[in-house]
Symmetry: D2
């Protein structure tokens, strides 16, 4: 998960590498699916590494979908689809931050889904760790795509494989 139109160049570079590493693990990459920012960069990274990509779109049809999405799920739900993104994921990696991404991380904490934060501000890190404390949710900070993948592997080893 990560920002669309407001993604920085660094965010996009990290997302591309992250997508490639997700695919190398034989994991499925699920994003918001649009041809923009982190959704697009991570999906392109995953396809370059021959992975499978799913895009859960806010719109009612496939217009605006990234070319790098294999399985397109238009929902027609607008931003309410963010709740579906979280429930359909086993681990949430946020790469960069924006208002849509923040809603997803918050819903992940509420749903006790593990979260890994990559390239976010100090206030963002502190805030989501504050949110996670009372509900004993997992919020980890990664310094690189490689570390994010290692953290995800550790989390998945400790959990039931079903989303």
């Amino acid at each position: 998960m990560g920002p669309g139109e407001f993604a920085s160049d660094t965010d996009q570079r990290l997302a591309y590498e992250l997508g490639a590493r997700v695919a190398q693990q034989n994991w499925i990459l699920l994003t918001g699916g649009r041809a923009s920012g982190i959704m697009d960069a991570a999906s392109r990274g995953a396809k370059q590494a021959h992975g499978l990509t799913i895009g859960i779109l806010p719109s009612a049809d496939a217009r605006g979908v990234s070319d790098a999405i294999d399985i397109v799920i238009p929902t027609g739900l607008g931003n309410a689809r963010n709740a579906v993104n979280i429930l359909a994921s086993q681990v949430i990696i946020a790469c960069g931050m924006g208002s849509g991404t923040a809603s997803e991380v918050a819903l992940a904490i509420k749903s006790h889904k593990p979260v890994i934060l990559l390239n976010v501000s100090p206030a963002c890190q502190t805030f989501f760790q504050e949110l996670s404390a009372p509900v004993s949710a997992t919020v980890m900070i990664a310094q690189s795509p490689e570390e994010a993948i290692e953290q995800a592997k550790t989390i998945l080893k400790l959990r039931d494989p079903l989303p």
Copy 2:
């Protein structure tokens, strides 16, 4: 699409064959995903023919999912997920009928998605054809899974491949 707990033996036999034929076309089978009725039978048919299956669940987690689903999308939306099922499909084949399936066929007509009805009552056929007339939506009647697949092929040849 089709009934869960109230699916008849005939419905389930037809759904199994339909799922297998969908997979033989190299199409992806999308169902409501639960381990019940048509969702389960069609998905098992598709897996037996080495197809890819997606299940869009009403629940917030994967409990109750059919073993024959490859890609599990828990939505937490309850019956509102029926609207997602329709938007994520290119052709809707209803095998048997129930109240959830009827809501999906009606939403398909509203969204101008083509519908094929298999093993439904005369009143059901007449009703959905009445609904489709003012909006010029496509509602076809199939006598067998084989005919349903032929109708779907005809529809897909005439349309843009994106859902």
Copy 3:
């Protein structure tokens, strides 16, 4: 509930009277809220009789809302909002029929919400009665707005008042 753009003059006349009679019972009228067809006519009838009206819109903002709606709930959910309409209602009266209305009646049957059908075709009556039989849901046929209200009163006397 009832059709928007495809509502007939008779549908709209009946909906206006129905809205007025709902308000006279001191019931709250809940519709899909748009300035079109049955939603608009029923809401105008209710306001003329000094009732309270709620409109649950498919859109993300209030554009296109009927002037006769007091409480506007934009949902941004598209047709998935039909599921909310049903869960937020205690009795569903369908006045006329269209594809959106049919999805609502089907979801009402699935959710065991009582349904009253006014001014619908014979095939429609037969079909929804077929759907309701296996789940023991209530589907009644009314010949007039007055009879629909009497049926709703009978249903509400037998039930818990919470939606």
Copy 4:
């Protein structure tokens, strides 16, 4: 908006006063509707001041609704209903903070709905102001319910009255 089970005593006292002040302005109070935390406290405050209260529930029926809710909207959407809460509001006041509330504030920023934060941590304030900057959304900090109401009045004077 505000936390449910994890609301502090201070959060609840502020929410009660806030609800009362919302009602005194003849505004309608919309909350998540459950008999818990800020939803319940704000609604009780509004009822004590003879206001109108709406509760948009995550559940499919009215179980667990606060006694102080006049208009109950069960949605069956789970946490996806948070997106509806935001779209149905003209101004969002967060009183205290939790993961569900954070998702609502983030969605409000995404939807360009004005947000007022009351009794939240410094990291929370900084984070949401960081999120709002690139999209020019309004995020204000209030020191008291009285100040929150004054800020809301200022915002509403500058805007179109429709949600």
